[in-house]
Each structure stands twice: as structure tokens, then as C-alpha cells.
């Protein structure tokens, strides 16, 4: 973990996120979102959670972003010009940000450097998933299945 890399990743992530949130065109926003997600994945790598980083890249960049792009394409006849951003939302977001920031900065116990750790292997993750977390894993599987079926049902053409 070195600082320049962190700064670079942070800047990329936040810039991507900001672009995703504020750009006018949906398609541009979707692409920026990909950049932000890649940044987040990089952070995960940096923090030593390589597996999660990979999952992030696969799931988000590979699947969710593609889904979004598809949806945009499917609904692109929508031509309503998006009128800027709403300042009320911006104020609330800023307020939340400053509130949380204040809480973080006030808590002095957070200013700690990272301890040395054993690298987390995929094997360890897999063992944990199959032992302690086996029930959650099953549930998530169920949820994913249900979501899949549900999404299919939703997007099926309505019968006339």
C-alpha cells in the first residue's frame, strides 16, 4: 500500500462516480460507472482482498454495466432532456457528506496504519464460505435464482 497509488485510485474512483452521477447522457454515465467500479475494485486489491476485487470486476463491470447498457438501448426512444441536477438533492448529499466526514475526522481511533497480515487466499475464502457461511451462501443462491426468474417474467411481453 503506498500513498501515490491510493491517491490515484481514489481520484479515478471518485471522478468516475461523479461523472456517472452528473453526466447528462445516460450512456456516458454508464461508461463512467464502469470506471468507478474498476477504481473500487482496485481499492479492494490494494486492501488485500484480491478475490473480492475480482468478483467486483466480474459482476459489476462485466454484468451490471452491460445490463445497464442494454437497458439504455432498450429504452432509448426516451428523448426527454434531463434538466441538470436538482440542487436540493445536492444540498442533502453535501450535508450527509459533511456530517459523515465530521464524524470520521472526529474519531481519532481511525487514524491507524494498516497492520501486517497474512495474504488472504481464495482457499481460505472458499473454506469460510463452505463452513461458517454455508447457509447465507445457499440463501444468496436462492435469491439470485428468484431474481433471475423474476426479471425474466417482468420483461416478458405482456400478453394482449
Amino acid at each position: 500500500m503506498n500513498t501515490p497509488a491510493f491517491i490515484l485510485i481514489a481520484v479515478i474512483t471518485l471522478a468516475g462516480a461523479l461523472a456517472a452521477a452528473t453526466l447528462r447522457k445516460l450512456i456516458h454515465a454508464a461508461l463512467s460507472l464502469v470506471i468507478a467500479f474498476v477504481g473500487v475494485a482496485a481499492s479492494f486489491f490494494m486492501l488485500g482482498a484480491e478475490f473480492v476485487g475480482l468478483v467486483q470486476v466480474f459482476v459489476y463491470v462485466g454484468a451490471v454495466a452491460v445490463l445497464i447498457v442494454f437497458t439504455i438501448l432498450l429504452t432509448r426512444r426516451e428523448v426527454t432532456g434531463e434538466p441538470g441536477i436538482n440542487w436540493g438533492g445536492a444540498i442533502v448529499a453535501l450535508a450527509v457528506f459533511s456530517g459523515l466526514l465530521w464524524a470520521i475526522l472526529k474519531t481519532s481511533s481511525l487514524a491507524i496504519p494498516a497492520p501486517q497480515i497474512e495474504p488472504l487466499t481464495v482457499k481460505q475464502v472458499g473454506e469460510a464460505l463452505m463452513t461458517n457461511y454455508v447457509w447465507p451462501l445457499q440463501c444468496v443462491g436462492l435469491v439470485l435464482t428468484a431474481a433471475l426468474i423474476g426479471a425474466l417474467l417482468l420483461v416478458m411481453e405482456e400478453k394482449r
Binding site: 436538482n86 442533502v92 448529499a93 450527509v96 456530517g99 472526529k106
Partner: protein, 656 residues
Amino acid sequence: MNPWIVSNLWLVPAVPLAASLVILSLTNSRRNSAAVLATFGQIIALAVAIVAFLSTLQTPGFRAVHNFTWFTFGDQTLRIGWVLDPLAAAMMIMITLVGLCIFVFSVGYMAGDKNITRFFAYLSFFSGAMLGVVIANSLLLLFVSWELVGLASYLLIGFWIERPSAAAAAKKAFITTRIGDLGFFLGMLWLYHNSGSLLFYDQGRGCLEDAGLLAIGGSATFIALLIFCGAMGKSGQFPLHVWLPDAMEGPTPVSALIHAATMVAAGVFLVARVYPLFSLGAVNGVTPSLTVVVLVGVVTALMASLIALAQFDIKRILAYSTVSQLGLMMVSLGVGGVAAGIMHLIAHGFFKALLFLGAGSVIHGLHQEQDVRKMGGLRWIMPVTFLTYAIAMLNLSGVPFFFSGGWTKEEILHNTAQWPVSPLPDYLMLAGVILTALYMTRQMIYVFFGSKRPAVEAHESPRIMTMPLIVLASCSILFTLVLTPAWPWLHAYLNGESARVDFGSLIQPILFLSFALVAAGIGLGWFIYRNLGERDPLARAQPGLFRFLENKMWFDEIYEETVIVFCRILSRLADWLDRYFWDGLVRLFAGLGQAFGVLSKGLDDHGINAGVDETTSGTRGIGRLIAAAHSGQIQTYLGALAVGMLLLLVLYAWLS
């Protein structure tokens, strides 16, 4: 031990008060019964007052009190009571006697008025309240009566209610005196706090007795000055004198009774009554509070006599003369001559009432004409009025020998000359003597001498009006008997000593000095005003100065432009703040809640609508906010969630 009269002294104010209530319940048509009832009440009050007076003669320095509990709050009691001592007795006699004369005079003067029952009710009410002031043995009771006197004055100044000027003058009088009364009220609270009692005399525990004064200690100066504020308001002392000349809008008997003889002197009486507070800790007879009294008195006396020189309304001249005489009395009290001040008060009560009644007679005879420039040559047409008026004028000017005013004024000057702080008040008062003689001569010449001016049918007043004049004139001359240094009975009586006959002390240097000054004043007046032209001689000689004085030194205008405008601005500001600022602030708080409402465009529109419609925005904004919160719009819910989270965060941070 106490004579019967002490515990029943309440009869003196109660009888006129009761008469007033009875008269109030009469219909307008019972005119004669009203007058008779009022006069009868006054006669009974006079009789009781005389009985009381006689019982004070038993011993020198007689003082008897009757105290009782007014009410109990918590486990404390509030006691009030009345006192019979030379001061109270002398004042009672003066008030009832002058009052009686004026009541009788009013029967003639007010004969044509359709509201005469109301008039007598008010007048009786005033008399009762005023008597309450003088017999009070508790500052609280005194304050109560004091305010009632103010109320009576308000009602009587505004008696001719359909005249806007009368209503305005009444309002001015009430508010101006109330400004002073605020000081009085605070002084009373302070006194109560420090001494624990508002009774003047209470077997050693009263606030004017040794134990009470000891408890008051260093704050006595402030208390005395605050109480003096009340006296300033009532007695028309600078800078609260502006209401008194305007009070001449009332019927003339009212001016005579209230705004010359009795009520305006209540301030002087008040200072005399609580004199131990003023003189507490005196070194050589001087305290800071007494010095203030002297200063205020000197300024008032000189200012008022100067203004009197340039007035043309017969009653206003007298009003300013009253102000100046009250200033003189204040000076007397301030330099330590309490007895002299009270003596002058009583003498002034007689002759000033006489002057006003005389003026009333003139006004009556000239069909409500009050401008001295339209009078003249009345000495043959109204001989009784003229003679009594002349007697009163000599009294006021301070001619000694036969006129009580001369002796009392001479005694005041004597006291002032001995004031150790500065000789200046003495010199200024001597100048005041000349000025007094001057403006009275001017008035006499305008009204009674010279040739008869344009066509006003004049006639002498009826017997019922001239009789009181004669009685008062005799009083003011006979009163001399107890005033002279040869037998200073009244002085001794008030001071609680016994008087000795000593003709040798009749001859005093200051007597000649003041006589010379009076003569100079009258002579000067005769010289200046003997040939009245189109314009006043002073106006011809010094037009600028005359305009300054004629406009009453622009006090009204200055107050109007400063104090009153300031208050009005404050009031507008308060109203504006209320309508827009505080309400706006509330709306702002509502708006903070609305911050998340701005999230959606629909709410934006509501907000703008509310903003446009100024009158409805404050509340309907909130209402719409609540309605909009249930719009079914997901973002609103989300925003609410975020704000709520934030609030929780703040709460957590604050509580931890």
C-alpha cells in the same frame, strides 16, 4: 389614646368618593342634585378635615397613624394606613377649602353644560383621590391615590370630549405623568425591597423611621431620585412640564382645582412627605438627591416664567406661572426649607385658585374668549373680578405685608440664600421674582387696563361665581396672620415646634430686598406695557427671542421629533419584525425541513407558489410539505431518509 378622628380619617376622602359614585349613577337630567350632592360632600369633608386639624393642635408635632392589613399574599401581609400629622392636616384643609370654593364657582360656570352631572362626579372623584394622597401613610396607598388623581385629571382635561384638542391634551397629560410614575413605581419597589415596609410611620418600623432608613442605607439617593421622577411628572417640572399648559383645555374650574391648587402640588407634597429619604445622610443639609431637586426646580422656575412672558392665552400664562411657582417650591424643599415650601404650596393654592377662577370669570364674562389681546379695560366692567384678581396678582408677585404669597416667597428666598453649595440658585430665584412681577403686570394690563378692545359684550359674573372669589381673596390675605416672622405659627406647626410672638423679627434685610425687586418688576412691567400697540412690546423689541418663548421654547416640537418619532419607529419596527421577521424565521425553520422537499420539482413548484402568495406561504408551505411528503415519489422518501439519518447523527454526536 388616639382620638376618634384618627381611625376614621378615611371619611375625608371617602365622602367625596361616595358622592361621586352616587352622582355617576344619576341621569343627566338631575343637574341640581348633582351639584348639591358634590358640594355637600365637599362640605362634610371640610368639616371632618377641620376636626382632624383641631386634634393635631393638641401637642406640637402631633402624629397619629392607623395601619391595617390590606391583603395577605403567601404568609406575608401588605399593610396600608393613614396618618394624621400637621402636613396632612394643613393640606386637607387647603384642599377641601379651595375645593369647596371651586365647586361653588363651577355651579355658575358650568351652568350651561349638558354634562354637568358627569362633571361633578369627576370633580368629586378627584377631590376624594387627592385627599387620599395627603392622608396616606403608605407609599403604596399614596401611589394608588396618586394614579387615581391622574385618572381624574385625565377625565377632566378631556371633559369636553367632542373637542379633539381636549382629547389630545388629556392623553398627553396621562402619558407624560405616567412616564414620571414609572420612576415612582420603581422607586417604590426598591424602597419596599430594602426597607421591607411601605408604611411611612409604623411604631419605629416604617420606612421613614430610623430602622427603615438604616436598612435603606446607600440606595436612598437612587430611591429618592426615582420617587422624584413621579413628582416631576405630576408637578410639571422640567423636562416633563409639557403637559401642564396643554391641560388648560379642560374647563377653567378644573384648571383651578387640579392644575393650579392641588394636584400639581402633589409632587411637592410627595417630596415633603418622604423628605427623610432625600435628606438621609445629609452633610450640612446637602445630599445629591436634594441638589438634583434644586437644579430641576431652578431650571423649571426660570424657564416657565420666561415662557409666561410671551403667551397670549390667559390660562396658559397662569399655567406657566404655576409651573414656575412649583419650581420655586421644589427649590425650597431642595435647599432644606420644607416648611417654607409647604407654606408656599398652601398660599399658592389659595391665590392661584383665585387667579384661575378670576380668569374663569373673565372668560365667562367674555363668552369663552381666552386671548388677552382681545380683552382690556375690564376693570370697570368687572369690578369684583378685578379687585380679587389684583389681590391674587400681588400675592403671586410676592408683595409682602398683607399678602401671604409675599411672606412665603420671602421665606423661600431666605432659605435659598443660605444654601451652602452655591449662591447661584439664590440669584436666579431673585431674577425669577422680577420676572414673575413682570409677566403678571403684563397680564393685568392686557386684561383689565387700557381701553376696551373690539366689540366683546362683557358682563360681571353672577353672585355664585364672585362669592368664591371673595372668599379665596380673604383667605389669601387672612392667611398672612399665621405666616409672618412676627408669629410664625404655621412654620412652627409644620415643624412640630411651638411658635413665639416676636415682632422684632419682622424687619429683615431680605424682606426689603425682595420688596424692592417686586417693585422693580411691577414698575418695569408698567413701563414696558403701559402703551400696548398692535404687537406685544417685547415682540417689537426682540422678535426672535419672543418667537422662541411664544413657541414654548419648542419643547413640544423637539419631543415630537425625537422621543415620539423614535417610539413610533420602534413600534413600526416591532410590528414589521413580527409580521415578517419572526414569522419569516419560523418559515425558515419550516424551510429547513423543506430542504429535502426541494428535491423534487413538484415540491419546488409548491414552494414557489407559497413564496409568491405572501399571505399564505408560512403555513401552507408546511401543510403542502406534509402533503408532498406523501407524494408517492421515491426520491422524496429517499431524501427524507437521508435527512433523518443526518439528524440521528447530529443527535448522537450531541448526546455522546
